[in-house]
Assembly symmetry: C2
Homo-oligomer: 202 residues x 2
């Protein structure tokens, strides 16, 4: 029995990919044949610490969070992912080693997954995908570089401001504690920042 809406999600990822590289019909078909669709409910785990990450995941719908839990049980948010974003534990995926982090759905989500061995196959069969992943990685490097810079150069309040500027609607979609965790500050402190900003009529 076919996955409901499979066509819709496949066409979504094809659109996403054709924005960056050109593919023939045959190449597109090969690509699609290597994918699978995965649905997650809120609080459902896509990856757990210790497991080997088998997939690169493209988010068709929903919202995911990857985070690390330290010895004292505090969790630290590494990444978020929403529609048209990719998410994985890259180190675990590339090296096929146990993951150091968890990935969990925050909303009902639909993902398209490609398995490691299928991705390897795809890259040899259709070299255009090398370019695609070069570009994806390139963007990731630039974004992470900026995040590192912000962590080094800005205060908690400034980082929050920068985040809001880049993703104005983030607050509608995420509990504050996860935003705080991504920023690297405590939820209590984020609340204080918001309190001050509110007074200043921002």
């Amino acid at each position: 029995m076919p996955v409901p809406d499979q066509e819709k999600f496949f066409s979504q990822i094809i659109t996403h990919i054709l924005r960056r590289i050109d593919l023939t019909q045959e190449e597109q078909q090969l690509f699609l044949s290597l994918l699978s669709i995965r649905r997650l409910l809120p609080k459902q785990y896509l990856l757990q610490e210790g497991d080997v990450c088998k997939y690169e995941n493209f988010v068709c719908e929903g919202f995911l969070r990857s985070f690390y839990v330290d010895d004292q049980g505090n969790d630290h948010t590494l990444h978020f992912a929403m529609e048209d974003w990719w998410i994985t534990d890259l180190t675990s995926f590339v090296m096929q080693t146990p993951a150091s982090r968890n990935i969990v759905a925050l909303e009902p989500s639909v993902l398209i997954q490609i398995e490691k061995k299928n991705l390897d196959l795809l890259l040899t069969q259709v070299p255009a995908f090398e370019k695609f992943w070069r570009l994806i990685n390139e963007r990731a490097v630039m974004a992470q570089d900026q995040r590192i810079l912000d962590n080094l150069a800005l205060s908690g309040a400034e980082r929050y401001e920068a985040l809001l500027k880049k993703y104005p609607s983030i607050e509608q979609r995420l509990p504050q504690k996860h935003i705080a965790s991504w920023l690297g500050i405590s939820p209590v402190f984020l609340s204080q920042i918001r309190g001050k900003n509110a007074k200043k009529g921002k």
Copy 2:
């Protein structure tokens, strides 16, 4: 007049590349024809904030540092680069926009440079290089991801310890203030950490 030691540096970068991808003799020759060699003295700038970054730079010899200077004049170290590493301002290079940061030599250095338009040409002429840069970017993503995680989850002292574990000889090559700047702590505080570690017989 030929650059002294050019052959040596070219063979160094070819070795570096053949570790990751296969190339024919012709492809290697094309690649080499797109490169240029650059020498820097200590304190000499490779890139200055505001300039557009024209090159990807491969370090044959020496040591470089990229850093951002904030409004208050504090500098923040983004990256180091030593032998067989690449360094650039990726955002400036990819988008051809003014750089937000500086890159400076800390030691006498020899770089191999490839210009943006030559790299673009190379990528279309020799698709194997797409794979090469995908792999380079992949490594960068993994390394930066770990750095972000360390910044979120570890104290200054712990980050220092992690750095020493990964690069035990880093202290021989870098002044402490640059290490502190990379770690995101003040030089004074790093000195205190070292003082405590020394007492504990570490």
